[in-house]
């Protein structure tokens, strides 16, 4: 069993920016702007906890985890995992670190190669690292076979299905295959990019329970993305709220849900229906006006300025830093200066 190591920082993200260039031109491209998908975010993830990231579509949640996994080369900032700066790490070091950073994807239909059998899919990471000679303990073909079977049982799949193809499984089962693949290399951290958003509600809870069981048994750390507030509340230790490529509020899960500070968080929470009709009828919704501004724009002030019901003069010209509010609660808003 895993011994809980209090407050050991496993992952530290400092001022991470991920801009995608907008180019025009014929053969010789000229950069005319950038999509600021992630625009300077900082947070830490402690060993053994789950950091939930919540926010609306297009706010940069997925880009954040993909940048952490170095699937995109970050524009600037650093990602320190277990003492290693991944952004500037040499290729070989990065490969070793990858073993400990695995991902689960949103769409269980697109995340599994349709031409491969379950055995090949789950065994692929093992296979790659075996060939490169980077496994902790060398494995041969039979050991990999055995490990694949164990993993299948661990995530609740019948090992007899290992020669089947992904299309022979349901959405929930496919997501289990994806989880087994992520577990294959015994990672320390799993970056889960909306792992339950595409599933039925009943299946969602099964997968969430599987994920928390795995966390307890294997001492995993999660960065968990979702746009469903109830899911985030259930699984997260701490929650980061993102808006337009920025973290606007970061706090313990219970704290955030009972005491939201940022106007955006308040609006977001007020939008979630309450499963009690009496309270639900009294629910006051904060309706935000306007649309999310284009992420191509460079902001001088608060990113939420255009839509904020509490905006002040200062907000238009000054980007609010994260204000620590005590009790592990931080918010990027001039109201709490």
């Amino acid at each position: 069993m895993y011994k809980k190591d209090e407050k050991k920082i496993l992952l530290e993200v400092v001022d991470l920016k991920q801009h995608f260039p907008i180019e025009t031109g014929f053969i010789f491209k000229k950069q005319v702007g950038a999509v600021r998908a992630v625009d300077g975010i900082s947070f830490t993830v402690n060993s053994g906890e789950t950091l939930g990231i919540v926010g609306e579509s297009g706010c940069g949640k997925s880009t954040t985890v993909r940048s952490i996994a170095q699937l995109y080369k970050p524009t600037s900032g650093s990602v320190v995992f277990d003492g290693l700066d991944l952004v500037n790490a040499p290729k070989n070091e990065m490969l070793k670190a990858r073993k400990n950073i695995q991902m689960i994807f949103q769409d269980p239909y697109a995340s599994l190669d349709p031409r491969m059998t379950v055995r090949t899919i789950i065994g692929e990471p093992l296979d790659i690292y075996m060939r490169r000679g980077l496994l902790d303990e060398p494995m041969d073909k039979e050991m990999i076979e055995k490990r694949v079977e164990d993993l299948m049982e661990r995530v609740g799949l019948n090992r007899a299905f290992k020669n089947r193809y992904p299309h022979e499984f349901s959405g929930g089962q496919r997501q289990r295959i994806g989880i087994a693949r992520a577990l294959a290399l015994n990672p320390k951290i799993i970056l889960a990019d909306e792992p339950v958003s595409a599933l039925d509600v009943s299946i969602q809870s099964q997968i969430l329970n599987l994920l928390s069981d795995l966390q307890k048994d294997l001492g995993l750390t999660y960065v968990f993305i979702a746009h469903d507030l109830a899911v985030i509340e259930y699984i997260s230790t701490r929650v980061a709220v993102m808006y337009l490529g920025k973290i606007v509020e970061l706090s313990k899960s219970s704290e955030l849900y009972h005491n939201p500070l940022h106007p955006y968080t308040k609006a977001l929470l007020s939008a979630a229906p309450i499963p009690d009709p009496v309270i639900e009828r009294k629910r006051q919704r904060i309706i935000l006006t306007g649309d999310v501004p284009s992420p191509n724009k460079e902001h001088k002030g608060c990113y939420f300025y255009e839509r904020c019901p509490m905006r002040m003069e200062k907000c238009a010209t000054n980007i609010p830093p994260m204000h620590a509010m005590g009790n592990d609660h931080a918010v990027a808003c001039w109201l709490y200066e």
């Binding site: 014929f26 053969i27 993909r66 996994a69 699937l71 490969l95 990858r98 073993k99 950073i101 695995q102 991902m103 994807f105 949103q106 769409d107 697109a110 995340s111 599994l112 190669d113 349709p114 031409r115 692929e124 990471p125 790659i128 690292y129 490169r132 089947r164 193809y165 022979e168 994806g178 693949r181 294959a184 290399l185």
Partner: protein, 291 residues
């Protein structure tokens, strides 16, 4: 029948293909022509370049109408049309298959690297594709055949080098589609090399459209060979091909009065091309049941 692994993609496609009558007939006809080409010496009654003389005279037996001795008559040089037709299948198919192999290898390779790596590689190669597409094939071939001694290999390479562009474009598009799917991101996330991603994840997933392209490319190559040979810059006499057998039809007299010389090669050409197109359509439907 266990041709493919049970429940695999190809197993399903095979089952769907079998249900498509037109495609199965097309496959059967194509197979028939292939068998005919392979066993040409056993089927053909004469050598393809054997000259026949009018009995008792030292004169070529030209333009003889069909008879017991010559099932489809003789051509302008007194050669047996039926034998030439059967041997012609060999040449025509060899040209088509080799040309398609060349164009598929080049096209797939260029499509894969341009689609996967994008950016400058993509820009450069796609402009090359534009140049090749706008190149006048006929002019190229006529120039080559005036400079060099025309040979079957020149025809093969010429067809191969001008027809890889459509494969390249198709493969590039498919790579762009597959590349952004999550399973490629997943492979990246567990440390796969680019080569491994291209060969193990992308190529198997775009093989189906490539196979359709191969069949259609073969049919087009047969037609191209026929038109080049008809114009005299393709396969050269005395080697028989369906295209150069049609050359005789350039003479008005033959065209009007001697249908046995040009109708049979015309018909087999049409039949084979049509059959291959049916197979191609059948493959497309079998691989992509959603449509």
């Amino acid at each position: 029948m266990t041709l493919f692994k049970k429940n695999s993609f190809y197993d399903f496609a095979y089952k769907r293909f079998k249900k498509n009558k037109l495609a199965v007939i097309g496959a059967a006809v194509t197979l028939l022509f292939v068998v005919m080409a392979i066993f040409a010496p056993l089927i053909a009654p004469y050598e393809p370049s054997e000259f026949f003389f009018v009995e008792g005279q030292n004169v070529y037996n030209k333009y003889a109408p069909p008879s017991d001795g010559h099932l489809l008559g003789t051509d302008s040089l007194g050669r047996d049309v039926f034998s030439r037709l059967i041997y012609g299948a060999r040449v025509t198919m060899m040209v088509a298959l080799l040309a398609v192999s060349i164009s598929t290898v080049i096209g797939t390779f260029i499509g894969l690297i341009t689609g996967y790596f994008g950016k400058l590689v993509d820009a450069i190669f796609m402009r090359i594709v534009d140049i090749v597409i706008s190149f006048p094939v006929l002019f190229l071939l006529i120039s080559i055949s005036t400079i060099m001694k025309p040979s079957i290999w020149i025809v093969i390479f010429a067809i191969g080098f001008v027809s890889w562009t459509s494969t390249a474009r198709l493969v590039r598009g498919e790579v762009l589609r597959v590349k952004q799917l999550d399973y490629i991101v997943a492979a990246n996330a567990c440390g796969s090399s680019s080569l491994k991603i291209i060969l193990k994840h992308i190529l198997p997933n775009i093989l189906a459209p490539i196979m359709v392209q191969i069949t259609i490319g073969t049919a087009q190559a047969i037609l191209m060979e026929a038109s080049l040979s008809f114009l005299g810059v393709g396969v050269q006499q005395p080697t028989p091909s369906w295209g150069n057998m049609l050359m005789d039809a350039q003479k008005l007299l033959v065209l009007r009065d001697m249908p046995w010389i040009w109708i049979p090669p015309g018909i087999v050409n049409l039949l084979l091309v049509l059959a291959i197109y049916f197979v191609g359509d059948g493959l497309r439907d079998a691989f992509d049941p959603k449509q």
